[in-house]
């Protein structure tokens, strides 16, 4: 396997994103199917959660940021996306290695009859 080192996620370029709305429009502009939404727990505690496929029948919360502050939630959400991106890159590298291994393997030779 050849993981890219050092790993450098796309979000490092986006340091000017400071608010939840800016994060949400960044997702829309960059084909990321996520949205930060505010969740209120039964005890009244507020938390920003990351929703996948927002507004659709397949919508689901994939990550609770644990933050009630929008700016901190944006940082947490980008960290989560970086983890997803990293895992995808590792997975792609592993698959590419498997393909290479398959190519190196010699073709099976049929056994000769006596």
């Amino acid at each position: 396997m050849k993981p890219s080192t050092p790993y450098r996620p796309a979000y490092t370029e986006k340091s000017r994103i400071a608010t939840v709305d800016e994060f949400n429009i960044w997702c829309a502009l960059n084909d990321q199917p996520f949205n930060l939404i505010q969740h209120v727990w039964p005890d009244g505690l507020v938390e920003w959660d990351l929703e996948l496929n927002p507004g659709t029948a397949e919508a689901e919360i994939v990550y609770g940021t644990g933050q009630d502050d929008g700016t901190m939630a944006v940082i947490s959400a980008f960290a989560f996306l970086a983890g997803v991106e990293w895992a995808e890159e590792r997975h792609a590298a592993a698959e590419a290695d498997l393909d290479e291994d398959d190519e190196d393997e010699p073709e099976p030779v049929p056994a000769k009859r006596r």
Binding site: I17, D21, L29, N30, D31, G55
Partner: protein
Amino acid sequence: MVDEPTGLRHKEVQALCGFWLKQCPEGGLPLASDMEPADLRRWLPNLLIMHVHTDGEFFYSYYGRSLARAFGESRLGQTLNDLPEAVRDILRQEYEQVCRQRSPLHRVYTATFNGVKQTWERVVLPLSTDGQAIDKLLVAAYEL
């Protein structure tokens, strides 16, 4: 060369169109990924982004807070098919025209929202992911 829409009335619509034009490369359309959210900050509550699916369907991938408040709900994640027929047909024609002509479209309309007659100005600005195909529309709407 993309021409600026004429007859714009709301100053924020004018400003957004000016910003969009500055993002246009020579002979091309702005890349969605080049749009900095911080640069769009002043318009965010009144913006929405329509994603143009490969099958020609349009769905809302961003819905500004002011628009959600004004129209009663956020349509995030919905497609045009989820809208009432009369509205759907007008918007579909409008979005398809922008994709076909590869240029902005602007319209002023009056309608009754929540029992109140209102006049709005909206503009539709095309965006691209690869510089060629239009796969996103940046839409702004302001009440006049």
